[in-house]
């Protein structure tokens, strides 16, 4: 498309040369960006003696590190906990946020704008800032060291509501009208008109929520001391304090933790990046 742009200064071959150089520079930078992750995977497959050799491709690749990590530490349990927490948060959050987004975008009621602005104003409040009082509240509710404590406070965030509201604002007005003429109530309209239409944005948000919760560390660190409830990020941070010299084990553990998210990313990269791209000020 843009190659047809007028190029008043350069000949065609010069343009090709510049473009080629540009691509080479981009590729080198992209490789450098990816290098730490490649390095992690590489060490994970290297025997301990090879941990500090400088070759990216292991000379004698082995699965021993993975086997050791999975048998010596209850990583499977940590992963199951992470999965349970992330999936629960994602499902409930999507349910609540689509409801709120629908009402804030398409229903008229007094105080709607004030409500939206107050929700939006929590956009920039981050967990580290409120961690102390939040801990006090969750403790008072008796949710320390429980799945409920891991899941419930993580459900609520303004980002999802905001994106869904924007999406519902962009839908044409007519979509509800047919349903309304048929005498459908608001719940019916939400359930059988709005939700099916939200599938693309909901799948993007589902991935984002799942990843964010899979990767979250500070909240689980604060409220779970019982190792049976540990999520995978806590497991690996604790693993570090026990095996601080065994980098081959640590990189294997890191790979196990990172691989599910990277696979999700490879499959859904377009949806993930598109939905984040639109989260800017618009």
């Amino acid at each position: 498309m843009s190659s047809n742009r007028p190029q008043p200064y350069f000949s065609r071959s010069q343009v090709t040369l510049v473009r080629g150089l540009w691509m080479v520079v981009t590729a080198i930078l992209a490789f450098m960006t990816l290098f730490p992750l490649l390095w992690m995977v590489s060490i994970a497959f290297k025997p301990a003696a090879e941990s500090f050799s400088s070759n990216l491709i292991p000379q004698s690749p082995t699965l021993d590190n993975f086997i050791y990590v999975l048998t010596a530490v209850p990583f499977i349990r940590y992963m199951a906990n992470s999965f349970l927490v992330s999936a629960s948060v994602t499902i409930v959050a999507l349910f609540f946020h689509t409801m709120a987004g629908y009402a804030l975008a398409r229903l008229r009621f007094p105080g709607r704008e004030v409500l939206f602005l107050s929700i939006f104003s929590t956009f920039l409040v981050s967990l580290p800032v409120i961690i102390v009082p939040l801990f006090v509240i969750v403790k008072a509710m008796g949710m320390l060291n429980s799945y409920a404590g891991l899941i419930i406070p993580a459900i609520f965030n303004a980002f999802g509501i905001f994106l869904l509201r924007q999406y519902y604002l962009s839908l044409p007005k007519e979509i509800e009208e047919a349903a309304r003429i048929d005498g459908a109530g608001y719940w019916r309209i939400y359930w059988s008109v709005i939700l099916p239409l939200s599938r693309p944005i909901m799948s993007a948000l589902a991935i984002l929520f799942f990843l964010a919760n899979w990767n979250s560390f500070l909240w689980p660190l604060t409220i779970t001391s019982d190792p049976n409830l540990w999520v995978v990020q806590l497991g690996i941070a604790n693993f570090k304090s026990q095996y601080s010299a065994s980098w081959n084990y640590m990189m294997a553990a890191s790979t196990i933790v990172a691989i599910p998210t990277l696979i999700l990313f490879v499959i859904f990269q377009r949806q993930i990046m598109d939905s984040l791209k639109t989260s800017g000020l618009k």
């Binding site: 742009r5 008043p8 981009t26 590729a27 930078l29 992209a30 960006t33 990816l34 730490p36 390095w39 400088s54 609540f96 409801m99 709120a100 629908y102 009402a103 008229r108 009621f109 007094p110 409500l115 929700i119 929590t122 981050s126 967990l127 580290p128 409120i130 102390v132 009082p133 801990f135 006090v136 509240i137 419930i152 406070p153 459900i155 609520f156 303004a158 109530g185 608001y186 990767n215 560390f217 500070l218 990020q233 690996i236 941070a237 570090k240 980098w247 890191s254 933790v257 998210t261 990277l262 990313f265 490879v266 990269q269 993930i272 990046m273 791209k277 639109t278 800017g280 000020l281 618009k282």
Partner: protein, 314 residues
């Protein structure tokens, strides 16, 4: 447009059913928003208020609260580690925000053209953002291990080695900044790509016909039209620098605030005071000050940019 008379006539005609339909919509609206509104209130709104309340209390070893007035704030004033934390936080922000802006915009310009090659490159630049910060911290810590880490050896080979990335108080924070940039830059690249997408092509075509070079086009078209995006990026990255989870996670795993408190940003110091020493009141006082500081910075920035409103669509 309906006239007032028409509306009044319709109201008379519709009578009670019209009103109750309206009220039904109201009630539906409130019920739909209720779960989220309640959750945000309990887990975000109340904590923010509670932070201020907690800050005038002291908690003893048995969990009993006693009112202490301004004691926690006075303690803060006289605590050199609080001031150290404030300084480290400011330094972190001063380094992180411009670096993220430059790297984010630079990468976006690099892969701006939509083609298959750039699509792959974008994914590669963004991939670090998908990895958990604990893993990010571990991998980087491994790469900068003194003398034998792959980056330590690389810098030594280039003749700039010989220092400890995480052990030297002069370099530890810089290392943390670089890791943060590596993790966050892909996200800001996407935000900038979204902004670049909205700049009409014709502007560049017109400028090229007028003979404007690449630098002139960037300076006179791209940058001015990117203002709303820039505003968003600077504000969000500033908040991320002062209070973001990435700072906490990376520092907590890599240095725990050391060496010699060189990476002890306020959120890490607050956490240690609360959950290491049980000084909840003191930690809440510091967190309140942090919230106020954030609000002031945001307000000033908002005022300077006239509310972040730009004539973007024109």
């Amino acid at each position: 447009m309906t006239t007032i008379a028409e509306t009044a006539a319709r109201r008379r005609h519709a009578g009670r059913t019209h009103l109750s339909a309206k009220h039904r919509e109201w009630i539906a609206g409130y019920l739909f928003v209720l779960p989220d509104a309640l959750g945000l209130l309990v887990f975000l709104g109340v904590p923010m208020a509670l932070s201020l309340v907690l800050s005038v209390f002291e908690v003893n070893g048995f969990g009993a609260y006693s009112f202490v007035g301004t004691k926690n704030y006075l303690r803060m004033w006289n605590d050199p580690l609080f001031w150290k934390g404030a300084k480290v936080t400011a330094l972190y922000a001063v380094m992180l925000v411009p670096l993220l802006y430059t790297c984010g915009l630079g990468l976006a310009l690099l892969v701006q053209r939509t083609d298959r090659f750039n699509a792959v490159m974008r994914s590669m630049f963004f991939a670090p953002h998908m990895v958990s910060l604990v893993v990010v911290a571990l991998v980087w810590q491994f790469m900068v291990v003194d003398k034998i880490g792959v980056i330590s050896r690389l810098t030594a080979a280039l003749g700039i080695g010989g220092f400890s990335f995480l052990g030297d108080p002069n370099f530890a924070l810089i290392t943390i900044v670089l890791v943060s940039v590596w993790f966050l830059m892909g996200f800001y690249m996407l935000i900038f790509l979204g902004g670049l997408q909205d700049i009409p092509r014709q502007y560049y075509e017109a400028a090229m016909i007028d003979g404007a070079g690449a630098i002139a086009r960037f300076w006179f078209i791209t940058l001015p039209l990117l203002k709303p995006t820039s505003f968003f990026v600077i504000m969000v990255s500033m908040v991320a620098a002062v209070a973001g989870a990435q700072a906490f996670d990376i520092i907590y795993v890599m240095t725990k605030g050391g060496p010699a408190n060189a990476t002890s940003v306020l959120i890490v110091y607050i956490y240690q005071q609360a959950f290491g020493f049980g000084a909840f009141g003191y930690a809440a006082a510091m967190a309140s000050i942090l919230v106020v500081a954030l609000m002031i910075v945001t307000a000033v920035f908002f005022a300077l940019t006239r509310g972040g409103r730009f004539n973007h669509e024109q």
